[in-house]
């Protein structure tokens, strides 16, 4: 009798040990599968979030176009970057995208607000907007006599050259003779990149030795993706930041405490991704064209141009009448800005940073911003 009880006690102990080891071992065996399920759930969440960000216009539908946008504006009730005025899918509103640019002088939405609006408590995310290819100037464009020379190199993001990419160049240049300012725009015929991905071109100018000149080169690859880049002998911009909100151009102070001398706007030109040029504004030494330093929220000048949003501008060139960098008295100076600031050859990133790529998932898709194709990428992870 005692012997049987003892045997059972030993048996129970062994079974207990086997049970405990089973409980420990089995989850380890199925850990890989559990991890896969977890990652799949994360991927589903990422896809839903990505679709919300890219397909939803948000609420109100024009939240990016508020002129008096506040930091983390409470009027934004739902977050989405889709363009409410375009019936196509995956077309983003540049006004909304630029509200993600940290340091936007006209305020932005910070990461915590967007995360809260997307209902992503407990998750972290990062949104990347990646240009489709790279365009770099091989050297600063230069003028010999009245001919301007430029050369650009077009490469895939991997660094491989892109042959047969089409590049169109437009030169904008100024010359001041006495108190008279000349301002001109000249376009050149398209040039194809060679096997090394290099396009070299020249533009005949209307007059020789311009003081300031700027070349914008629009590069199109296979008719599907376009980039606009610029370079030249332009003025180091200490005059004003150039901002666009829907149809309105707003010039703001570059540095808060920097006093400004009198500056007038002579000309404004806008380019779109198709290479179309819009002669937006012709000013002069009048009150309407004068920058109003010291008034408003560091705001110098504001003017609405009906149809500017629909034009999908990607770049602006300003011709100011101001003291030039060499203190040679007043003359015309050119200032160029890509709109919004993220429409450059740099990768735009917004949000947190994933601690490890193993515990985060990424989803990607091509999107359109201001008529140009980009790759949007969303990284999502659990925190």
């Amino acid at each position: 009798m005692v012997s049987a009880v003892f045997d059972h006690i030993v048996a129970i102990l062994i079974v207990g040990a086997v049970f405990v080891s089973t409980v420990v071992v089995l989850p380890m065996v199925s850990f890989g599968n559990l991890q896969a399920v977890d990652q799949q759930q994360l991927r589903n969440t990422a896809l839903n979030v990505f679709n919300t960000v890219l397909l939803d216009t948000g609420k109100p539908t024009d939240w990016g176009a508020f002129i008096d946008f506040q930091m983390n504006d409470p009027r934004v009730q739902r977050f989405g970057l889709a363009n409410a005025e375009d019936s196509r899918f995956y077309v983003l509103d540049a006004d909304k995208v630029q509200r993600l640019v940290v340091g936007n002088p006209l305020n932005s939405c910070d990461y915590s607000q967007v995360r809260s609006l997307l209902g992503l408590q407990g998750y972290g995310f990062m949104l990347k907007i990646i240009p489709p290819f790279n365009v770099t100037f091989l050297n600063t464009p230069y003028v010999v006599g009245n001919v301007l020379y430029y050369s650009v190199k077009v490469t895939y993001l991997t660094g491989d050259p892109i042959p047969n990419a089409l590049s169109d160049a437009t030169a904008v240049y100024t010359k001041t003779v006495g108190s008279i300012g000349y301002f001109n725009v000249t376009e050149s015929p398209p040039v194809l990149t060679n096997a090394m991905g290099i396009a070299e071109g020249s533009i005949g100018l209307a007059y020789s030795e311009p003081e300031y000149y700027m070349v914008t080169v629009r590069v199109t690859v296979a008719d599907v993706a376009t980039m606009v880049v610029m370079s030249g002998n332009s003025y180091e911009n200490t005059i004003a930041n150039i901002n666009v909100v829907y149809d309105t151009l707003i010039l703001t102070r570059v540095e808060e405490d920097e006093p400004k001398d009198n500056v007038w706007i002579y000309d404004i030109i806008a380019f779109d991704s198709e290479g179309t040029l819009w002669d937006l504004y012709h000013g002069g030494k009048d009150q309407e064209s004068k920058l109003n330093s010291g008034q408003g929220m560091f705001e110098f000048w504001r003017k609405a141009f009906y149809g500017l949003h629909g034009f999908d501008p990607v770049m602006f060139i300003f011709n100011f009448w101001a003291v030039d960098a060499n203190n040679n008295g007043r003359s015309q100076v050119l200032v160029v800005m890509a709109y919004p600031n993220l429409l450059t050859t740099n990768i735009f990133e917004y949000g947190g940073s994933p601690s490890s790529t193993k515990t985060s998932v990424a989803v990607q898709r091509s999107v359109m911003i201001s008529g140009m194709t980009y790759t949007a990428e969303l990284w999502l992870w659990k925190e």
Binding site: D7, A36, P132, P163, A222, D223, V224
Partner: protein
């Protein structure tokens, strides 16, 4: 006393058999649970990652089609443009291999439309394939009318993540 019981246990074949029976029973239970775990097929990450690639590939082809570019590239044999278009619209860590066939399953593109090494497709566990059909391409007859010839093409796009 306990030492005596252990000695008795060591010589008691019946008790030893009970222990062996218990161990065997436990092993059967563990084996059953392990097999059950193997047969409950949980989704694996590569499977879903290839679904993701499939969506990506289909979206890219559909976007090219919507821009009236895909049919132009295929029917006008603009293979270099097709390769460039795919390279600039797909993320850079996604490799592709595209082949165009006619209805007789004859390859139409003369050279490979490939980004990445062929090994990226043969050795990777994470390969997706998208099939996209085109029926024809309209050519301009005069200033007001176009004519399309029915000439189907099958596009097979293989994608792999590098």
């Amino acid at each position: 006393m306990a030492l005596e019981r252990i000695r008795s246990f060591a010589t008691n074949k019946k008790a030893q058999l009970r222990i062996i029976e218990t161990i065997l029973a436990s092993l059967i239970v563990v084996a059953a649970l392990t097999f059950a775990n193997l047969y409950v097929i949980a989704p694996t990450s590569p499977k879903y990652a290839s679904d993701e690639l499939q969506k990506l590939g289909y979206n890219v082809l559909q976007d090219l089609y919507d821009q009236d570019l895909l049919a132009r590239f295929v029917y006008q044999n603009e293979w270099d443009n097709l390769e460039s278009a795919l390279r600039v619209t797909l993320p850079r860590d996604v490799y592709f291999n595209l082949t165009v066939y006619d209805l007789d399953y004859q390859k139409v593109n003369d050279g490979p439309i490939l980004y990445g090494s062929p090994e990226a497709f043969s050795s990777s566990k994470n390969v997706a394939a998208v099939t996209y059909g085109l029926t024809g391409y309209p050519s301009k007859v005069n200033s007001t009318s176009y004519q399309a010839v029915y000439s189907p093409r099958m596009i097979i796009l293989q994608l792999s993540r590098g």
